[in-house]
Symmetry: C2
Subunit: 347 residues, 2 copies
């Protein structure tokens, strides 16, 4: 049976209050403090988080929730991306002596199970980081706003207040990719994108197209192939592309590294050399990019920073709510960077 503060107080021969003060570094005589500390050690006393949480009305816990869709099959593709983000958030949270509650949950269950309401009203977390994947409705935002609950959503969608948004400039990522390909002399570029309703797909596409327009490069809608962010999807897209003899691409831009790996596999199978015949550029800079041959040129997203900054922002929001300190907010927008490796070459 774990010992309580009362046990410590009795053993040390002081009151509960004094014991509490000594352990929390509040006012106390040096002698009594030692007595109390000795007693605590002897009894292996550790503060009950539950008891403390109740009285302080804080759980010292941050929740991070990745929002899946039940319909979308279990994509291992999400792994690298979200694990990195999680580790970033975790690092920040541990630094601040908070506890981490990580979960992956379906949109459907989110509503059925009243997930958000339970977390908010159940007082089991002090703030939350939301990581949506698809552009569903954000009904739960009303609840969070109404309750002034500290939250951050990793999504640059219009309508989210800057203080609650931490995200990546997907526009810039798309822009960077096409800029680099154009600088290498490519004009015939196929864009293998993610699903049309995916959160990141459309903005990457806009950035990509904008840069093409700037160089007055003709671009046909059918040069964009919508896929599903998987290796197999990338593979199939290239097969489809090769079957269409009206297309003569010299470069491929894939909206993530998994699809790029699939694309490369399909090209190799068809005897097309990368980057000899066709250059390929990926997106995300996950492990895949380093591990395939040739090593993939890609757009890096600092997912770990993304997670870290999101956690930091949530902690700030909590501080502000508690009146501990006052932080000013602006929107956090991470710029992606170009990582040049071996899968692209000058025309």
């Amino acid at each position: 049976m774990a010992s309580t503060l009362k046990d410590v107080a009795i053993l040390a021969g002081v009151s509960l209050t004094t014991a509490s003060h000594c352990l929390n570094g509040k006012r106390a005589n040096e002698q009594t403090r030692e007595k109390v500390l000795a007693a605590a050690k002897k009894l292996k006393y550790h503060t009950s988080t539950i008891g403390r949480n109740l009285i302080t009305n804080k759980s010292n816990t941050i929740g991070m929730y990745v929002l899946n869709s039940r319909n979308s099959r279990d994509m291992t593709e999400e792994i690298t991306y979200y694990y990195g983000m999680m580790k970033g958030a975790l690092a920040c949270i541990q630094e601040h002596d908070y506890v981490f509650n990580f979960e992956v949950i379906n949109w459907e269950e989110l509503e059925e199970k009243n997930f958000i309401a339970k977390k908010v009203y159940g007082r089991s977390i002090d703030g939350m980081i939301l990581v949506p994947q698809f552009m569903y409705h954000y009904g739960f935002l009303n609840l969070l706003e109404e309750e002034k609950f500290p939250y951050v959503i990793i999504d640059p969608k219009f309508g989210i207040k800057p203080e609650n948004s931490v995200s990546v400039e997907n526009f810039k990522g798309g822009y960077l990719a096409s800029d680099y390909l154009i600088s290498l002399g490519h004009k015939q570029i196929i864009f293998i994108n993610g699903p049309e309703n995916h959160i990141d797909s459309s903005t990457r596409e806009q950035g990509f197209l904008t840069r093409l327009l700037e160089s007055s490069i003709q671009y046909d809608r059918k040069q964009i192939i919508y896929s599903d962010f998987t290796h197999e999807g990338g593979y199939a897209s290239v097969k489809k592309m090769l079957a269409d003899h009206s297309l003569h691409p010299t470069a491929l831009f894939c909206a993530n590294d998994y699809m790029a790996s699939g694309a490369i596999a399909a090209l190799m199978e068809a005897g097309i050399r990368v980057p000899g015949d066709i250059s390929v550029i990926g997106y995300d800079d996950t492990d895949i990019a380093r591990c395939i041959y040739p090593k993939l040129t890609t757009i890096r997203i600092a997912v770990k920073d993304l997670g870290f900054l999101a956690a930091e922002r949530v902690l700030n929001l909590i501080d502000n709510k508690m009146g501990v300190s006052h932080h000013e907010y602006s929107e956090i927008l991470l710029a992606p960077t170009l990582v040049i490796r071996d899968s692209t070459r000058k025309l």
Copy 2:
């Protein structure tokens, strides 16, 4: 301000006790129940987990802790493996309406910060799943045993009680790999293993060697190259191997997929065809295996099942401790399986 049970009771015009009973499906008149439920809905009442936890002396939370080493650099290689395990555990935990506390922590901090003691005595979790990576000392096990704290450790190490162990038959994995290579006619096999003190390395090695011995294949210690589970490590190992002209391998067994991907890159660079000249087999069946070209033959570990079973076991241990029910235990040992793809061929 979130409403409390008291608010609900007042609005419904009943006592605190009655309100509690109604909400928890205990004895109650149907009319009063409706009144209470209506009041709860109107006030958006949700039970305070903290209040409940305090009185029930349960947190309904399971912790899962991946044990890193500060000395080992931040290996992204851990990602796929542990994220999968985590998702398995999470699935089981959510099914049972528990909360999930996931953290990655260094051995060093584990001791410095009294991590385990805080979790145990702080009563913030009801049970824990430990995922060590290296064979350090398991000093904390004493504490867990002494306090009869429900835990599971994902490690088949000798000395851990069967009820607390969930793990993979690494011996069998190594055995399977060499068995398959031998069946293809290979005799000259280089084994690129993980670090010597890594938890999984030595058992895989034993399995691998055992099978060779069964076929009376001569094996020299220098045919084992110890590396670090990274892509770069695998790459460097092959460079080293190629520099040693006394070696004439026809096959390579790599202790994980990352090293296999590095090995393949080095072979390709040297103009050696895979599997034409040298067959390569990996381990883990992570995303990498499917994404590289040629697709990697590998040993699959059902990491998700591993996590799920570990969580299930912890929940059982908690049940038993609480006297809710009685489960019998035996050691859980998952068998790895061989996944044949395109990186191996008959000699």
